[in-house]
Amino acid sequence: MRTPFTVRLFNSMPRAGWAALALFALFAWVWVPLAHLALPADHALHLSSYWVSLLGKILCYMVVAVAMDLIWGYAGILSLGHGLFFALGGYAFGMYLMRQIGRDGSYGAELPDFMVFLDWKELPWYWWGTDSFLWALLLVVAVPGLLAWVFGYFAFRSRIKGVYFAIITQALTYAAMLLFFRNETGFGGNNGFTDFKRILGHGITTPEMRVVLFALSAALLAGVLLLGRYLVTSRFGRVLAAIRDAESRVMFIGYNPLHYKLFVWTLSAVLCGLAGALYVPQVGIINPSEMSPANSIEIAVWVAVGGRGTLVGAVLGAGIVNLAKSWFTVSFPEYWPFFLGFLFIAVTLFLPNGVIGLWSTLRARLGARRPAPAAAEPPVQGAAAEPPAAESSRGAVA
């Protein structure tokens, strides 16, 4: 008998999880708007625009981290090119934002400033329809999704995985970065898109808009967490984990891993695109350096720091690393790279399961007194998942 969807969704997360989610909703949808809009600027609890945009930005990063965790933690696919999908979503929505500037740009022209600059007389074909909000939303989903699907289809069909996959995704995002840096590509080159004015006719710098964007980011994060939770607890999620742990065996049993991998890979890219679309209006700029390989590696770091294969770990990792970054680059600018570097080494050496793993280890030790709740965690993939790839890569040097 098939359980109804709502029930399955509800059961995919424990009560406590739902409670936490409700708390989070209260924070994001009630407290932040109140503290930013209602309290006067000199009130002790007033939340300044700096903090609203900073937290909004981090929420978007958290979404990306969850998307990354879905493919890395659950399907064992490490992508070093996720920044690309994030940036593509950002660019797609950025095109809409540029069109919304209208004639308020420096040149007072119908075209975006950088095109006037390049002597372009009309919009290139791929800008068609970008003045429509809905079309822009469609692009936000379709462009990263389509690229991921095509790339994933060929890569997974050729059974590229592990390190090879990581490196070609890196090549992909690097190539895209070079392409977007070109001014002729038609996306503003190095300067990218900036100086946005409004969304749907409403000013983008108003406190209300800031709160709306923040609330939307929070909603996206909550939605993505729920969706992720639902997926990984479903039958689909179990097949995925099986593919991660022993792909050949899954094939011999009669599953085609291609479809599973492709679906989760494309979904992950789309989620990144959505996060990018919310990110751009909040930080006010999108430029090709978002596609630089280092940015994509950093996404993997968030997930590793938080703990792979838990979804919530990814959220935590993105939060910790980014808040630390914001703090360090102000207080000890020269030591930020040391901190990040050592954090990285320490996490991989001592916390293979991330901060979440640390938490459960501590609990396991303390909990010896209390009856331990469940047995072992589902193995968070680490050592167990990858030896086959390592084995295969040991070629002869001759």
Binding site: A171, A294, F338, L340, V347, L349, A398
Partner: protein
Amino acid sequence: MKKQASHWARRALFLLPLLVAFLLLAAAGKARAALDEATLQGLGAADFGERIAAIEAVGATGGERARAIIAALEAGELGTAGGRVVIVRDGRVVDAASGEALELVADAVDSLRVNNRVRRALAVANAALDLESGERARRLAAAQTLRDNASEVVLPVLERALESEEDDAIREVVLLAAARVNLNADDPAKRLKAVTALGQSSDAGVKTLLEPFLDPASEPDAGVREAAAASIAAIERRVSIARNIGTVFSGLSLGSILLLAALGLAITYGVMGIINMAHGELLMIGAYAAFLVQGLFRAHLPEYVDWYVLAAIPAGFFAAAAVGVVMERTVLRFLYGRPLESLLATWGISLVLIQAARVLFGPQNVELANPSWMSGGMELAAGVVLPWNRIVILGFAVFVLLLVWLMMNRTRLGMFVRAVTQNRAMAGCVGVPTARVDTLAFAIGAGIAGLGGVALSQIANVGPAMGQGYIVDSFMVVVLGGVGQLAGAVWAAMGLGIVSKFLEGWAGAVIAKILVLVFIIAFIQKRPQGIFALKGRFADN
């Protein structure tokens, strides 16, 4: 501003040939006049036009003093102090007019500098003088300068050289120089001779000179027009061959750099399955080692400073190898069999190393000079020069490759490394100390990266983040070649180098780079294991 420029322009246009002529006259020992103070003062004028007029006047007086002043001007040793023109040499100040020593500190002198225009005039004049020098090398260099810059003023000198010159190679160059001047002769026969002679040139610039002779409007003589067409065709042929050779060479050179950057990675990845994202920083360490060695040589062995690169080779190797050992012992040995995690940890290491270099050496790039034997280039044809530093690096890459091959195939360590690569468990069972082999292999891979860094220091930037620029390319080479395959790495590096260079010539640097990356992505789909895949059966491959 415009007014100023055109004023100078007119003046300069008028004066330049005069300057050359007077220098020549001075050399021939004809005009002689006393050096008067007013003329000398002109050398210190703020206006370059006035300065050139003064140079001309000084040249006109001729004699040893004038030559000394001109030579001092060229070397940047001429200056003004307390209202008089002086020469500063080895910290001593002498009066330019009289040559008597002055009680002045060198710091008090405002030195007079020459600009490009004066420098060019001086170069032509000096070349004309050098054409009668006793040294063959100087004559040849002079002839080459004149070949590219000859004007009517120097024609007598060229003709004299043609009479007296016995070296064929120099004669040929002088002939081209004379022909260049004779192009403007009124006598069609002379022009015909010149146009025909210039057909021997391989300089695309000469082609431009000849083009007007195709036009009946500017060249009335049909014979000359025909000869010009033939000469142009000959030059074009030669130029295009030379250019293709140049492109292939630049591809090979790029390939050799990619190979040096990737070779260490091929070993560490091949043997240990470790994705070393800090590989670029090992290159950086090698380059900084070269920088430090250069500093030591400059401080303690200034007479041997040209050979610092040789000393930097072992220094770069051991510095990077030492860092490699530390990395392996403290971090990587715990991550064997977890390539994706090794990737993250080594990325952390790379951040730390970059910032450490920034703190130690400052964020700016540091300066490394090419030793004189690696400066300049070998002229294949006019316009195609193969730089010595690139030739040396190409050779160095072959040397390193040979070294690695010997190490892998002819030493006990190499045998162990191959054994561990092929079957770690079995190797351990028969007594190979796998942990030590891992450390050594990683150290050697790191050391080779250090060698790559020394080579790169002769071509590119040396700065804290220099490694970042090579990491993606190095991975592409390793992945394309087939992991753990030396031969694959060689093919991949050279192939990528040459393909990039031909694509760049055709589509520009940005597009070329994108196309190469897309090509690699597509290639991996087709052959997931690279050009040289390991043979064998693996269920999980």
